[in-house]
Symmetry: C2
Subunit: 322 residues, 2 copies
Amino acid sequence: MNIDMIHAAAERLKGHARTTPMLNSPFLDEIAGRRLYVKAECLQHTGSFKFRGAWSAISTLDEDARKRGVIAYSSGNHGQGIPFAAKHFNTPAVVVMPSDAPEMKIANTRALGAEVILYDRENEDRDDIGAKLANERSLTLIKPFDNPLVIAGQGTTGLEIADQCKTEGVENADVLVCCGGGGLTSGIALALEEHAPGLRARPIEPEDYDDVCRSLASGAIQRNNLQSGGICDAIVTPQPGDLTFPIMKRLCGPGIAVTEDEVLMAMAHIFARLKIVAEPGGAVAVAAALFHADEIQGDAVVAVVSGGNVDAKLFTRALATL
Amino acid sequence: MNIDMIHAAAERLKGHARTTPMLNSPFLDEIAGRRLYVKAECLQHTGSFKFRGAWSAISTLDEDARKRGVIAYSSGNHGQGIPFAAKHFNTPAVVVMPSDAPEMKIANTRALGAEVILYDRENEDRDDIGAKLANERSLTLIKPFDNPLVIAGQGTTGLEIADQCKTEGVENADVLVCCGGGGLTSGIALALEEHAPGLRARPIEPEDYDDVCRSLASGAIQRNNLQSGGICDAIVTPQPGDLTFPIMKRLCGPGIAVTEDEVLMAMAHIFARLKIVAEPGGAVAVAAALFHADEIQGDAVVAVVSGGNVDAKLFTRALATL
């Protein structure tokens, strides 16, 4: 896993992924106590950065593999990115999703053309289900984060952050990344290492699901006790990936864990000031920037909004905090 | 008023205005019955396109005029664009706002450094108030739409649409523009005339406030009976401008009027599918694209989301339509 793979992914994604804007507001700067730049990956196709990794992986398959199809497991965002990208290559897509995923995500995954298979997050292992189906149907399994092509695709977000920070004159700053298994975080960290060495990626997680924070602190992979529940469904994963953890350990600053109340308030501020829609798991980085300023270094801070796939009901709950 | 003024404004705005993305979603294409591209001007500084015109006008003032200050009247978006731009030039800003403007807009205008003066939209004339204050304090009055420098600034949106449509391969399409006094619509129409002659600007308005639609249909300026009320506060104006109307008459296709229910549903679809926040007046163009497809021509359609400054309460009402 290296920077060349991210450059190659950027070539494959050219003209297909959106270059998402980096937004800011004086009102948010005031709360954050420094200039806050928000990388709006919720504006990516399918409403999350996951499109990048999905396209990166599927675009490398040979004709036979494309015809047989792909399989993915996902709480929803990877599960939307996969069929959206697969459709372009006329590739059948199967998506294994937890039965407690937001309705909108399940409905969207189906509407994008995927066959959806639901599983019980507490009692079944999605790796087992995915491996079994892939084997039975000769499908290519595209893991959500522990796949070099996927990490390379997510890393293209980091190339854009490096470029956009240069334009803004930001040379030294923490780059806060919403972190599940670490695909986006490790990809961004690799891109920044090469193109913006003064920028430091840091994983941000919800309290009680802070496996990456604890793993980085202890130096060895730690698991979450809880595997479901909470509002940040997009970034609830059992533990950091075998591929992503060593990269994060080498390159990332310490993680930050935020509360659900902070997440809901961050979603409301993002709505009011930036006019974009963040899902809870996609708002944790902004929550850290706004409400954990004392744990952050630099005159400026960058926070990635990784996705915007949230039900109206939960979004309404967030707006009520304003 | 000509294309050279728009090019000059684009030069002044370079590095200061955001180039806003043009977004799309297969889910919206399906409802619209054609490819729908949404120009997300809600992502502009201060949450609306008005920043462009404000910066365009203030950036041309000489040092003395900048020191004395500027005055604007606005239901809110022009009133946020003016102080935001003025601050950059160390220019004092006075904004005359209707007392029934959304609270968020009044609060934001103050927080951006403007002196806010409220007036009664039904019984007072904002032109009179603006002219009187400008005279008393030697302020430069920057009208919200009937000002060539403002129209030129708004027209830079049209330059971007022309570029982005070229990239997407869109050569013939209606470009639906949320229309109040016609500054944005006429500016975009001028830009498209020069740079994308196959794209045709069309003004979109709310029912009961469709002065531009009726003026274009009759060939002469018509007034609205109502001057306030309704949810589309951003685009409620007494009548088309003396400068903007002749441009729209020469270049625009027929207007379309949409209902408030259509506007609320459009806001909800924009939330769910594009992950951006549209205010009611900023959603009328998408409402026309989604729910008035039979009045639109072309394989593709472009709709401008002109702003996103909406209170949480009204946004929640829109989400309830999902």
